[in-house]
């Protein structure tokens, strides 16, 4: 296995992005399923949070995620820099094919990264949360999503994530050597968006309180 040699190629950097992306996607899915426990009442979601701490997965997961984010970002940065040097600039250019999702991967990624920072300060650390008591997950969430601007920010970020996943899933499988149907990426993206958005809207409409 020649990891360095592989990483030196553009394809190798894409492989790193695909693998780290897959890791983060796995986390996002678990995160989403965890969020859905909010529908079973305050005890369920608060208990779930405690249970995660009790079994000691929180910090290992954070370290792994941080590594994924770092690698994903570094590879993306290097590829973007190379692409910027390589591509030509036209006086007149019309897009023919590239989907919106494919064209917004880079800025979409930046938006998601910014949101993650806000999200951590809001619901993990609690600084930006109207309630802001660590461990009171249910209360924090409900306090958050009563405000339309929080719901809006959250929605924008989740949609950005959805677009990112839609092209990311397809592109990652392509990078790893398998051409899949683009419908798979779309399906994953829609499921994740629906799962994540159900919580804020449920709170906002009073379904969860």
């Amino acid at each position: 296995m020649d990891t360095i040699g592989l990483y030196r190629t553009t394809v190798g950097k894409k492989v790193v992005m695909a693998v780290t992306g897959a890791g983060m996607l796995l986390y996002v899915v678990v995160h989403m399923l965890g969020n859905l426990t909010v529908f079973s009442g305050p005890d369920a979601i608060n208990g779930y949070g405690h249970w995660l701490r009790d079994i000691g997965v929180v910090w290992p997961t954070r370290v792994a995620l941080l590594a994924c984010v770092a690698l994903h970002f570094v590879a993306a940065y290097q590829l973007t820099a190379k692409a910027r040097r390589a591509r030509g600039r036209y006086e007149h250019r019309r897009r023919v094919q590239g989907s919106y999702a494919a064209r917004t991967m880079r800025w979409g990624g930046v938006i998601i990264a910014l949101f993650v920072v806000y999200h951590l300060l809001d619901l993990t650390v609690g600084w930006l949360n109207p309630n802001g008591v660590p461990g009171e997950i249910h209360a924090n969430v409900v306090a958050d999503f009563r405000h339309w601007y929080v719901v809006l920010a959250y929605t924008v970020a989740v949609l950005a994530l959805g677009f990112h996943i839609r092209h990311g899933v397809w592109s990652a499988t392509q990078t790893l050597g398998v051409t899949t149907s683009r419908v798979i990426g779309l399906g994953v993206a829609v499921t994740i968006c629906a799962g994540f958005l159900s919580v804020p809207f449920a709170v906002f409409t009073g379904l969860v309180s």
């Binding site: 394809v11 950097k13 590829l79 023919v96």
Partner: protein, 248 residues
Amino acid sequence: MKLTLRIWRQSGATGRLVEYPMDDLSPDMSFLEALDVLNERLITSGQEPVAFDHDCREGICGMCGMMINGMAHGPEKATTACQLHLRHFRDGDVVTVEPWRAEPFPVVRDLVVDRSAFDRIVAAGGYISVPTGSAPDAHATPVPKPDADTAFEAAACIGCGACVAACPNGSAMLFTAAKATHLGVLPQGQPERYSRARDMVAEHDASGFGGCTNTGECTSACPKGIPLTTIARLNADLLRAHTTRSDR
């Protein structure tokens, strides 16, 4: 029919778009024939004609290529500039014509660019090593028809560079993958399959092309419709080349 051509003119390091109104065109002309008409007019009026690459004018040599209204080879699908006919434009249209633009394709003059990077990618491994005279009988190895068809589909690449010109990353992965797929699915190409992928991609990157982000611009611009699946095949072969012990 009338068209206004806005054509990139460049003889040194920089250039600009120059406007040429044309009112004596026929819808049956090919786009390059319209440039011929313009050039004859420029020459007789003492100006320098527009330099553009072209040769076979039947869509197979891959020599011609230009951005026509921001699209590689113009608006028609699966059509090279030489086979694009004016009947696909509306009378009075303004048509912008630019050379392929990518760092590894420097402009030589006007619409002419240097695509020698493609030759280097092929030289790096886009072949089967079989010196003349060393071949077994042609029927010694039957090739399943689906494999032969896949190989053919990829081998149809004409090396025009439209994929690079259209790519937002300036990537030549479709070109590289077409050759790797053509040779990589045939039984004759197996011995060098993985080293070929490794060496061609290394040369691709060294030539300054960008990485692929699977946007699909290339395949929709490709006059021969080379599919994106070729890139997945190349990626798989490259991964294999780097994750197993050296194949050389």
